[in-house]
Symmetry: C2
Subunit: 223 residues, 2 copies
DNA sequence: GAGAATCCTGACCATTTGATCAAGATTGTT
DNA sequence: AACAATCTTGATCAAATGGTCAGGATTCTC
């Protein structure tokens, strides 16, 4: 766990040095924590390694974040907040094919651009989500119910084949996030260090095609 | 890497108490280890907890398995061996629709019946597969290439739509294993402690339908 | 039944790790 | 300048943990 280089310190241009410095150092710590948690999980992550990557002494880390759990909570909260608004285009008025294609493509792009937070979240859920409190059963559940209602509306309107919308969402999550969470496996099997942007586009197209056709929809022609 | 094969043993070829006891206690330890590794990951798992669940003193655990890493290797090997032969029905002669439907259904059933080993494996891969050595890039890669060749044959024969077989496999893995790995999330979102067997059958049917239709195949009528 | 092989276990150790603290350094305020 | 608030850090601690060991208990072989 001693690989990544420390995160470079940003110059402190103008404005209250204290406040700005505080914000930037907290950001550095959170970024460092994110990567360490993603690589080692909550238990395997050490505050010493997080501090090292953030470029500060361990004692200083504990000045900004009282406990390791506190730090982990903040990382999880950040991820969750990012994810809450990724399917805004799934609305009753939208065209199902376009909305789903857009959602799937966006999720694949997210998997490519930000695999690390995805892994922290996946790790947390695999271990039974002990630090997620009631989030999954309340907020996320409501979110899913709302989206499911939209999709059921599409089905009732005869716009797509009859499927269970919740399990359709699970399938989309799985098929897209696997490219972030299981990147090591995919890279090894394909024999590449990492996929090119072209390959990600091809993946997005294929996943979209299979799921849309599977729902009785015609995939929009990708431009 | 030294496992208990190195322990000088063998003079008991009669199924005596020694051999029987050793086999059963090793099984108990491996089962305990499996569950602890699944819950806490490699780093978070403690040999003390594994020993406690196996009902033996910690020192005795270290008699059967020299190191924690040794134990983990054996757990991983067991999982991998189980998985190696789950898609035997995917052959050049087989009917694509039936073969894929059978594979997907079998994987969903495996996710229901043995979610714990799946989680250990998922956890390992998420963290970059540091303990899997060259398995992903050699054995698994060859396995995927062989299956991909079969599917390409189906495509060439005009039996199914043109897709990248490797990413199709990734999609099947993701869509099925998510019901083992992310069970906590799925349970919470659906508001149930765990899915009934009926629900698993419905899931298998829906995943099969979407993927087969997505590949231009007609799902076989489930009997 | 005696001696050997195997198994069991409490006690122990070295290291790691999350967290604390006191003293010093820097920045803000009057 | 003087004093307060905030930040930094080396040193340190208590707990947890992977692993060892010596010696006792049990089972096997002859």
């Amino acid at each position: 766990m001693a690989n990544n280089d420390a995160i470079p310190v940003e110059p402190d241009h103008g404005g209250g040095i204290r406040q700005r410095s505080r914000a930037s150092i907290e950001r550095r710590i959170l970024d460092a924590a994110e990567s360490v948690f993603a690589e080692a999980g909550f238990n395997g992550a050490t505050t010493a390694e997080i501090a090292r990557r953030a470029g500060i002494p361990k004692a200083n880390l504990h000045y900004y974040f009282k406990t390791k759990d506190d730090l982990y909570q903040q990382v999880l909260t950040g991820i969750v907040n990012t994810w809450l608004h990724t399917a805004d285009e799934i609305t009753a008025e939208a065209d199902p094919a376009h909305a789903l294609a857009h959602y799937i493509t966006a999720k694949i792009e997210l998997a490519r651009e930000q695999p690390i937070p995805s892994r922290v979240f996946a790790n947390e859920v695999i271990h039974g989500a002990p630090h997620l409190g009631t989030y999954l059963g309340s907020e996320l559940r409501s979110w899913v119910e709302a989206k499911a209602k939209v999709i059921r509306g599409w089905i009732t309107a005869g716009k797509m084949r009859e499927v269970d919308p919740r399990h359709l969402l699970f399938m989309i999550w799985a098929s897209t996030q696997t490219y972030a969470d299981f990147a090591a496996q995919i890279s090894a099997v394909l024999g590449r260090d990492q996929l090119s942007q072209q390959e990600y586009k091809a993946v997005a197209r294929q996943v979209t095609e299979i799921i849309l056709r599977g729902c009785g929809l015609t995939p929009p022609n990708p431009s």
